[in-house]
């Protein structure tokens, strides 16, 4: 009888110890990974910061780019079978000057076939007003307006030739509410289906074209517009243009 009681006393201890540990996760089907790679271009040429060459915008202004950064967020892989993958905590700063900020890898993508990529160019409205952020949303990255809370969704700085004189241009494009919000959604059809397999890394190459910032529907003349530093119609006009600047050019299965 005493031995039985002793054994019974040990049992609750074992149960308690067992419940203290992490719960064993449900076994997951193996997932894949997808790396999104960004190649920034000026027309058909890879973008080179600070020259030595000059690019020509649709208006005929020749210019060089010294800074080119933009936010890609809320990424969704659209499945061929109607099942989508939505990346969690999907906030990425693409920065032409930083090789580590020209790609990102999405984890835990369910195996399957995907036919297009949806994304938001810019930081969604909710995240703009949710308090201090970190990682790619860290205001120390120079893409946040401290005086009027909100992210700079896309930034391009450089110089253009103003009748022979090098003149700076600076486009800091922000604003996420009202008629002049610069937030632009894009859905990029993949040139071929993206096949994601368990424990395998696939890739998608997306090109952006800086020339598309300045051509249509709003033709930009640098001698007229070369500084944008707050939300408003000018920022919105350029965002109407760059809404079409991305293209999925390659799938790496």
């Amino acid at each position: 009888m005493k031995k039985a009681i002793r054994s019974l006393l040990v049992l609750p201890a074992l149960i308690l110890l067992g419940s203290c540990g992490k719960d064993d996760p449900e076994p997951q089907p193996a997932q894949g990974r997808v790396t999104m790679k960004f190649a920034n271009y000026a027309g058909s040429e890879p973008l080179a910061l600070n020259g030595p060459g000059y690019y020509l915008n649709a208006h005929g202004d020749s210019f060089q780019v010294k800074t080119y950064k933009y936010y890609v967020t809320n990424v969704v892989l659209v499945g061929g079978n109607g099942v989508n993958y939505t990346e969690a905590e999907s906030y990425h700063l693409i920065d032409q000057a930083e090789s580590s900020r020209l790609s990102f890898t999405m984890q835990n993508v369910p195996p399957g076939t995907y036919t297009s990529v949806k994304l938001l160019l810019g930081v969604d409205r909710n995240r703009n007003t949710s308090g201090a952020q970190t990682g790619d949303l860290d205001p120390a990255l120079g893409m946040f307006w401290a005086w009027s809370s909100g992210y700079i969704m896309a930034k391009m700085e450089g110089t253009f030739s103003n009748a022979g004189t090098a003149t700076g241009f600076s486009f800091h494009l922000g604003g996420f509410t009202g008629i002049y919000s610069v937030l632009q959604e894009a859905e990029l059809t993949l040139p071929e289906p993206l096949v994601v397999s368990a424990n395998h890394e696939s890739g998608v190459v997306i090109q952006s074209d800086v020339l598309k910032w300045f051509d249509s529907p709003n033709l930009i003349d640098f001698t007229v517009l070369n500084q944008v530093g707050m939300a408003g119609e000018d920022a919105w006009k350029i965002s109407q243009n760059y809404a079409r600047m991305l293209k999925a050019v390659e799938v790496q299965n």
Partner: protein
């Protein structure tokens, strides 16, 4: 049960097992400051005063702890947040002035650069949904980035601030105590500052004691007359208990160029597409006026008499003048004296002397 040696051994083993189990089950907390008797760290909890509305700030992403508060307080008085290490938040937001800057119409940043607006008194911030006279900042955690990066104020970059703090072993330790890691980020910096600033609650004035019917909460007949004048003439904008409705209004101030030579459009600087917002500024609280002269967004009125003179006969008919002020606010001499007596009861001596809110000595 007989206390045999075997049973005792079992009981002891079980106790150790249970203790070990509970210890491993407890969440990994952060280290608490070593001195539990320190009055400057007593009672670090955010409490909503009786009868007050619900606050805006949500602590769930940034739980208030003594270590976080202590770090935030140290940062608030840290001059290394400025480019030449000379100016801290506390330079222009002084505890004895209810965290405004006494006797300064506008403040100086580094290198004697002159600002354009009066340093607002800081209290009851957790009830605000927009910050600064123009409401340009939409979250208390985003607020510090503005003065830190403003060339007229601290003129520093966030990268440099993080760098300076990270190079200091003392700060790395404080961040570890507050957030469990020595990795200093702008997010943790602003969380700590929010923990400090959120605690600056001013709700212990004589008026508050009177409203809560607490001992010491007596008002003289003149003060009660003043309360009646206040409620009938001022309360529509300076709503109790915050003594502001936190809206943006034009109170008829003459449009004069600021220290940068421009007419300040106030809220209109933030929403220039909305012309109805031009020349409107956030309604300030009427608490602690005894400590926070001069008054208005540019500190143009040195005394409450000047303010009441303005409302009585000095209102300018500028664009977007608040309809409630179209005819001014005319007070008899008796009413004016009573109102001033009442406003004095809003001065919160306990707040400005609170040991938790003073500049740390170390």
């Amino acid at each position: 049960m007989k206390y045999s040696a075997t049973n005792l051994r079992i009981a002891l083993t079980l106790s150790f097992v249970l203790l070990a189990c509970f210890n491993s089950c407890r969440k990994n907390g952060t280290d608490e400051p070593q001195d539990p008797e320190d009055p400057s760290l007593a009672g670090i909890e955010f409490k909503v005063p009786q009868g007050w509305p619900a606050p805006v700030y949500d602590y769930s992403g940034n739980p208030l702890t003594r270590a976080g508060f202590r770090l935030g307080r140290k940062l608030f008085f840290e001059t290394r947040l400025s480019a030449d290490n000379s100016v801290s938040c506390g330079s222009c937001h002084q505890p004895f002035s209810a965290f405004a800057q006494l006797d300064h119409a506008v403040s100086h940043g580094i290198k004697e650069r002159l600002g354009t607006r009066n340093s607002p008194a800081l209290f009851n911030l957790n009830w605000h949904d927009r910050f600064f006279w123009d409401g340009g900042v939409t979250h208390i955690e985003l607020q510090p980035f503005a003065p830190i990066t403003n060339p007229l104020e601290m003129d520093e970059t966030l990268d440099n601030v993080v760098g300076k703090l990270s190079a200091d072993a003392g700060y790395r330790q404080l961040f570890r105590e507050a957030f469990g890691t020595e990795e200093i980020t702008t997010q943790r910096l602003s969380w700590a500052l929010a923990q400090f600033m959120g605690m600056l609650v001013s709700s212990r004035s004589r008026y508050d004691q009177y409203m809560r019917q607490e001992p010491g909460g007596t008002m003289s007949p003149q003060e009660l007359d003043g309360l009646a004048v206040f409620r009938s003439r001022c309360a529509s904008c300076h709503t109790e208990p915050l003594f502001t409705d936190l809206s943006f209004r034009n109170n008829g101030l003459e449009l004069v160029p600021n220290t940068q030579g421009k007419i300040d459009r106030g809220r209109g600087e933030i929403t220039p597409l909305d012309s109805a917002s031009y020349y409107t500024f956030k309604v300030p609280s009427l608490r602690n006026l005894g400590y926070t002269a001069p008054y208005m967004h540019d500190g143009r009125f040195g005394t409450l008499d000047e303010v009441l003179e303005h409302y009585g006969s000095g209102i300018h008919q500028t664009p977007n003048l608040d309809p409630a002020l179209a005819g001014g606010i005319t007070l008899s001499a008796t009413e004016r004296q009573a109102l001033k007596a009442f406003l004095n009861t809003l001065n919160d001596e306990e707040f400005i002397r609170d040991p938790r809110f003073q500049e740390p000595r170390q």
